[in-house]
Amino acid sequence: MDLTRERQKARSSPADEILDTVGLYCPIPIIRTAERMKRLAGGAVLEVISDDRVILIDMPAWCRSTGNAFLGSRQEGEEFRLLVRKKEGHA
């Protein structure tokens, strides 16, 4: 996780927090996402940045499985930016 990159990217993100997983391959980005989501308040939005294209399949599946909301993704060059909203009622 590159904190400097996360801070830079945060300026252009609609999310409450950013998680940079570039260079990591699934399932590690999903594991990190789950860890970070545990610290967020219900309703908060996390943006996950990844360069593993299979995350476009795994992240929606993880969201359906856990009850969090997958809000969509967009591609910027080699990277994917995915938005996930934490379900309400889980601190």
Partner: protein, 353 residues
């Protein structure tokens, strides 16, 4: 501490190992049919072939075939899945399995015990009452015959609280069955290698999107990986083998040149890119300005060995048919050029792991 009994009005909660294969999916479904709340655990061991294909990043690979099947199954079943990183403790187990290896480098019994131990911890942390798996009696030679199922149960730390829903009627009743948390009559009596019953059930429950059973998703059960793995153990201080060294066993062609010297020759561009991440302070060889593998060296080669490594690298380059090839050998800031003849295939075979 053993499992907590469910509150009088609360649903019974179970933790299951969910690989996403048909058996674990059906095991979860059998319990869901009884109104039991199911939490799924999926382990990331570092030896999953799909995960490795993802790390190689070959664009021709269909992303759907590389998905995490545990997540897919959790999504289809509507149950939460947590992926656990097996980490260094798993690595230690793989290098020193108490119950030994199967035919390859597969420590299946210890692996089950490891995962069920983790599931038992998760059960206690999440107020669940028992653990279940998709194991089927007599389906696999090493880990799923009666003796090993009992051994795993005995050593996993939760005797009586480990349920195998697919074969439960062949096994002694567990505590969840005895206490009526689970209806034993609605558990199954599947046994053996035939998958007819599982396939029939999958049709009944419209479970259609699952990976084909091949047993080929774990590097530890792969023949060529196992050769490299046992070679690594034979030529290393086992206690000091690092995770990175095992990761490198997954890629390329491997040659042992001396007891303390081996090389890895990439097979394509994606493996070149993969090996490039592990160069660090190692020697690396390649033929400049042509299609060439990266050759990564583990050990300290003298000049004679560096010439041999250069000759092997040249053999796998696009200039393999030329009599003399210039090869670059680099280590950190140091570079040398060696002019060698590509090694003949017959000579090469003596070194192949």
């Amino acid at each position: 501490m053993m499992a907590t009994p469910p509150e009088r009005s609360a649903r019974v909660r179970a933790v299951g190992l969910l690989s996403g294969g048909l058996d674990s999916t059906l095991a979860a479904r059998v319990l869901l049919e009884q109104g039991i709340e199911v939490l799924g655990l999926n382990y990331s061991t570092g030896f999953c072939m799909n995960d490795h294909r993802r790390a190689l990043g070959r664009s021709e690979d269909d992303p759907r075939r590389l998905r995490n099947e545990g997540l897919r199954a959790g999504s289809d079943l509507g149950i939460p899945i947590e992926i656990l990183d097996a980490g260094e403790a798993y690595l230690k187990m793989v290098l020193n399995p108490k119950h030994g290896y199967g035919k390859r480098a597969n420590p299946c019994i210890d692996c089950r015990i490891f995962m069920i131990h983790g599931a038992a911890d998760y059960m206690r942390e999440h107020g669940a009452q028992f653990v279940f798996t998709g194991e089927v009696l007599n389906q696999r030679p090493m880990s799923q015959h009666m003796r090993s199922l009992r051994l795993v149960e005995k050593e996993c730390g939760i005797p009586g609280y480990l349920l195998r829903p697919l074969s439960a009627q062949h096994l002694p009743p567990t505590v969840p069955e005895q206490r009526g948390w689970v209806d034993r009559d609605r558990l199954l009596a599947i046994c053996g290698r035939s998958r007819k019953e599982q396939i029939a059930l999958s049709r009944t429950w419209r479970i259609e999107d699952y990976p084909q059973p091949s047993g080929g998703c774990c590097f530890l059960a792969d023949e060529s990986f196992a050769r490299r793995f046992h070679d690594k153990k034979e030529h290393s201080d086992v206690e000091n083998i690092r995770r990175e060294e095992l990761i490198l066993l997954k890629v390329g062609r491997h040659f042992r040149l001396a007891p303390a010297l081996k090389i890895i020759v990439a097979r394509d561009e994606s493996e070149n890119n993969f090996l490039s991440r592990f160069v660090d302070s190692r020697w690396r060889f390649e033929v400049p300005d042509t299609g060439s593998p990266i050759t990564l060296v583990e050990g300290e080669p003298d000049l004679e060995m560096r010439r041999l490594i250069a000759a092997i690298t040249a053999r796998y380059s696009d200039r393999r048919s030329e009599p003399l090839v210039e090869v670059s050998g680099r280590r950190a800031e140091h570079e040398e050029r060696l002019v060698v003849s590509p090694l003949a295939d017959q000579a090469l075979e003596a070194y192949r792991i």
